[in-house]
Symmetry: C2
Subunit: 438 residues, 2 copies
């Protein structure tokens, strides 16, 4: 019965810091056996920890023999003497080591993780994710995701957005009846939320500016490279706007924050993957949907932009504005959800936008209706039963400001940055039509 002993984490040096230790001093590394290179007169042990790689030089016969019995991925603690070596990672290596395994010898991984390029296909990666995510390139992709989250929250936090947590179990499949998972909820039927849309709007009535980072669920019956049954949505919503352009200004701040987050917290990961981070302009260039159709030579009655149109618009934005980003505003009301605010003066169009990033849709956003009478009309127009949305309509009957918001899919953002062809490559444990494990 005594206070906690002074607990420090193990007195280890991280791989990236080995070069900062004075040559000749003792040091302890801990991590995974990343690679063993056995030469005639020396064995190199490359050790991997969360910070990177470090080289250990082994010459004595006993330790060489010991290491022969410690396969790649075995977890070890290595104590030795720091020695300068410009050819080693960080300019230093550990010599005359004592190696202490912290676990049993590891089984051979399904693929050699030390090779610079992951040497197997996507199914192998996903089937053995707990191990294959350790490959530096896979790990780097998620480090970019994590850093993006950090930058997103930092940007919105400094704009006084309040973080919220909304229900993922809902009583009605409100946004659309399709692609929704059903849950046995104490004998009743519940649904997994497809987005926090209705809740984030309600909470604008409480906090004015809100954001949520969380899972959303889509029972997507198609097997594509872009869809997941669960993905991470970065949602924001704010009140007291003039129109969707104010939303776009906040989106710009959020995207700039994400890029800054990557620069600050995942610069090495971005470099490893050859990610060319975008310059985020002071303002996103904007084109009206109607003008976008004309620009790409599409029929003026087209209700949407095709992927080829989006690519062409992305190229145009790069040429005309030097921008990786282009906002397309004014999408036809017929293609937008019931809560969409029309464009004042011409209600064929909406006060909504898509943001294209390098010619691909990154996010959708816009202004929402805020007057209760507009909701009554929208319910009637779309044939929605108001009683199933009673808790939501409550907010509007009791005073809601003009507001709008957006949602960014984290996995798509990272896939586009890293050039991954399939969002599954940059998702920790993806879920889809066929995959529920691991």
């Amino acid at each position: 019965m005594q206070p906690t002993q002074p607990t420090t984490l193990a007195p280890r040096v991280l791989a990236r810091d080995l070069g900062t230790v004075e040559a000749g001093s003792p040091a302890t590394l801990a991590g995974w056996v990343h690679r063993r290179r056995v030469l005639a007169s020396v064995t190199f042990l490359v050790l991997r920890d969360r910070s990177g790689l470090a080289q250990v030089v082994v010459k004595d016969d006993a330790t060489v023999a010991q290491i022969a019995g410690l396969p790649e991925e075995t977890v070890v603690e290595v104590t030795g003497t720091v020695s300068a070596n410009p050819a080693a990672p960080g300019g230093a290596e550990l010599v005359e080591p004592t190696v202490r395994p912290l676990t049993e010898p590891a089984a051979a991984p399904p693929v050699e993780l030390w090779r610079p390029t992951f040497g197997a296909g996507l199914p192998t990666h996903l089937d053995h994710a707990a191990v294959t995510l350790r490959h530096p390139r896979h790990r780097a992709a998620w480090q970019i995701a994590g850093a993006s989250l950090r930058g997103f929250r930092s940007a919105l936090g400094s704009l006084e957005f309040t973080e919220i947590a909304t229900p993922k179990l809902v009583g009605t499949a409100t946004e659309s009846g399709a692609n929704v998972f059903t849950v046995d909820y104490f004998g009743r039927t519940a649904y997994l939320a497809q987005s926090p849309q209705l809740y984030k709007q309600m909470l604008v009535g409480v906090f004015e500016r809100v954001f949520e980072v969380g899972p959303v669920f889509r029972a997507e019956p198609h097997d594509t490279v872009r869809h997941l049954a669960q993905y991470t949505s970065l949602d924001a919503e704010l009140g007291f706007i003039r129109d969707h352009r104010d939303v776009l200004a906040v989106l710009r701040a959020a995207v700039a924050g994400m890029v800054e987050g990557i620069t600050t917290y995942a610069g090495d990961a971005a470099a490893l993957l050859g990610v060319e981070l975008p310059q985020v302009p002071e303002e996103f260039p904007v084109i009206h949907f109607r003008d976008a159709l004309a620009k790409v030579g599409a029929d003026p009655d087209e209700p949407d932009l095709s992927p080829a149109h989006e690519r062409a618009l992305g190229e145009w934005a790069r040429t005309a504005y030097g921008s990786d980003f282009l906002a397309v505003e004014g999408y036809p009301m017929t293609k937008r959800p019931f809560y969409t605010h029309p464009q004042p003066g011409d209600e064929r169009w909406s006060n909504s936008f898509d943001l294209l990033f390098r010619g691909l849709e990154l996010t959708t956003g816009g202004q929402r209706l805020h007057r209760p009478s507009d909701y009554t009309a929208a319910m009637a127009r779309t044939g929605t039963d108001p009683s199933v949305l009673a808790g939501y309509l409550d907010a509007f009957e009791h005073g809601m400001p003009p507001h709008g918001g957006f949602a960014i899919g984290l996995e798509r953002w990272v896939a586009r940055l890293t050039g991954a062809e399939n969002v599954r490559e940059v998702t920790l444990f993806p879920r889809d039509l066929h995959r529920l494990e691991p």
Copy 2:
């Protein structure tokens, strides 16, 4: 087709900043009609925005008549002249106002939101949450939650933890078969994850230090003041520890970060609710489970601490250590999950802990098994089929460091800080046995 017009948010002054505007200058406020006080010669309009309350003084007959038609919760923009008044919130008020409603007149709220104390019971609050969350006391409770999240992430970010996002749809009800929701997953049965436990352990193998803030799901069949069907779990896990005491040191940093987050970002909210923030000691005092039983005069064979025992221990920690916190370590192995690491030298006990906060359990944590042979033995002992955990056991067969972690329930933390008797009071839209709306 032109770049975004320079969009700034509406040129408004927030209520909290009104006192910083030079007296005699014009200013525009925007927000909700919080309260109208009609006196013989003057009408006071109290306006609420995200930052607080501001007073508007109305004397001319036309505006007095206009305001009579704008019930509480109507959203308005008010332009007037700033006038110093030491009796007004922030030391200033707006006089000679022009009032512009931004929505239709609001319906009367189910309860008067301007009264200092919420004047209705919990069912009314929860049934009308979109409106009743606007009550300053309800809003303050969640501001404390949001600030706690911010502080938690900041503390772990500075310790180089990587944020993760793990599957909420899982193929096996791994941790326990009870209290799990089933989902129709493309014709198969899936389950909603009860915690990210297995995934955060696997990801220690990738990033060493990970955390996740996200929803967890419990099909809790009991109607209690402490249980929700969905709550927000603050999970952390780290590798290369010596034992559970290293986990406890990180937990201390996380809790200190949460308290600091509240101080920094929700100081006003904490003051409004009379929250007495705890001092977080440099180290949490620790008592062994065996000694804790003796201290409270319980039978030494008791497998757990009762709520009365926890209260008594909390009082003792306050007296003996001046601490609101007490860690109880060494809980019997029989009461802990299969992945729990035993206490070296006496395997009746475990390297796990509960953290008591003011005599109530706040969080559970500890060291986990890391050797594959230990998992094989644990599976056999608890009668678990290893094949259903293949993706998880993969991590251990391929090298995992000694590791451990903890999980904090956000709603319980806020309930204990604010003295709420029911976690539903501090949850935005709670889900339970009976409630799936709004």
